[in-house]
Subunit: 358 residues, 2 copies
Amino acid sequence: MRYVVIVAGGAGTRLWPLSRKGTPKQLLPLIGDRSLLRMAFDRVVEVVGPERILVCTGASFADRVAAELPELPADNILGEPVGRDSLNAMAWPTAVLAARDPDATVAIVTADHVIEPEDTFRATLIEAFEVAEAEPALVTFGVVPTHPHTGYGYLWQGEALAGSATVRRVREFREKPDRQTAEQYLASGEYWWNSGMFVWRAEHFLSALATLLPDAHRIVTRLAAAPQELADLFGHLPKVSVDYAVMEPVSHGRTELAMVAVELPVQWHDIGGFASLAGQLAQDPDGNAVAGAAVLLDGADNLVVNRGADGHLVAAVGLTGHVVVHTDEITLVCPMADAERIKELVADVTDTAGDHYA
Amino acid sequence: MRYVVIVAGGAGTRLWPLSRKGTPKQLLPLIGDRSLLRMAFDRVVEVVGPERILVCTGASFADRVAAELPELPADNILGEPVGRDSLNAMAWPTAVLAARDPDATVAIVTADHVIEPEDTFRATLIEAFEVAEAEPALVTFGVVPTHPHTGYGYLWQGEALAGSATVRRVREFREKPDRQTAEQYLASGEYWWNSGMFVWRAEHFLSALATLLPDAHRIVTRLAAAPQELADLFGHLPKVSVDYAVMEPVSHGRTELAMVAVELPVQWHDIGGFASLAGQLAQDPDGNAVAGAAVLLDGADNLVVNRGADGHLVAAVGLTGHVVVHTDEITLVCPMADAERIKELVADVTDTAGDHYA
């Protein structure tokens, strides 16, 4: 059977104060009135149904995830006691599904992205399930790059499978490149961005894991059989990314598995910070993106998000190129160019005003 | 006897949203925890005592003035049903005091300013009382100009009185000059800024008023005798400034009165807008003036005023040269250079978000 695991673990400090320690960005209604998690769920529910969706999140967010997705069976929320990076957020749910259904094929999707159109995403997801069921391979999704992004891994395209130019073996997985290398990748036309989403048969992934990280394999299979041991076992899992622990060695032939990528022909945006959030919101003719009650007079290229109590107004005159985020507890103002420094600001706020504001 | 009238009528739109329709700037704790009105009261109370201080304000603010100055007898708050510019705010209280005490000498002081040191101010006030009691003159206060300000009237100094270089006849009162003229005034050393504060014997002022604006004289003396006719009479008063209606014609010899100025050797700052407010607050080494809870990382030359509910934090990174004002209902952000446009912004806010926010 087919399953979807939604990984919703990140805190999203770069969207502070919209995201807070207790409210990761996936739970925020950032675009319109749906949260990123809700959008991720809605995107896949008609492919596998709500009973075959798992969400892997921080244990402290499990209740909020349950409230956000009331259709989801309670057993399908896996709460990590502490963050253990991306490998575990994928390996643990895969082991849980393998224990429930030895024939499980698992899609791992993220809740960090806005993806459009959703129909195309679903068709590609189904295509990737079919490839994973037919081939002993880890299947990943390749996004056609539009600019030399240095924040993504890249997939070097190999031979086409089954006569389809959009399903290809991956010659090599390449970690985040420097700018010059990213430009070469883009110019060559032979690379896709690695989307961070995967499809694999549970048994294939677990056999690769047994080869590459036998300790991690032992722990996640034990966790799947004996969930009551979570508190004891979890801290022993290695804190490592799936890219480093699995993708790279698999792409170098260190397991029996092939790596195959399916082209994902969608608009695919990571809402990683305020610049990308501004790009996803409707903009007025002056380039202002506004969410919530605000009056901007003669300003341009601002992002204004007002999530304060009803009746609170944000007003600006002559403001250009700034981020203004208002919540009931915190008001943030910074030039758009300094939005990358918000993590540093949060550390400063925590030092001077208290941990409460993190 | 000596009396002090504090004129506290203005709305202070340029300090919005600190000042609002219902909360004029004089009632705000702008500097430290005292309001400008409280500061004006504290400045003069030891000269005349609380019973001989009157406050002339908008009728809708009378209750708040009473709460702010509990020492003030209720009869000593004069509430104007509608704003009638500066002449009336001085003429009506003068007529009221003349009716109470035909021998009254009246000092008119404003509540818009920060004045330091206060001791020097009080000594000068007493000196001005003495001049007004000895001479048939309107006495004004001359501030030594420090730059060619185009927003003030200027006093052209005439002969010294009683051998004191700091008490002089005023050769002419000059309305707000253009920049070039202001520079000439400054260079000549023969001009003082007109402070907008006065001392006069009530009978002198009223006789000049009877000559210059007989209708206004008739109405304010009637109001003093029959306060119950306020609603009927008030609308008939001319809406005119004391500079235009009295200062200019008196300085041109159109009455029996002389004009005398006493030099006021104090730091005298009009808190007219955010730039002047920033100048009055303590600044950190980077030129940031901060009032209320705020964390600024690597910013410079900002004014941040946080008057939100306890616990609300303003945070900024990389912000330079901006005004951020947070109140429970409104958050304002603008470049310091655009703070002069706040009146325009308030009009825009009123149009689009409702009169409530004015």
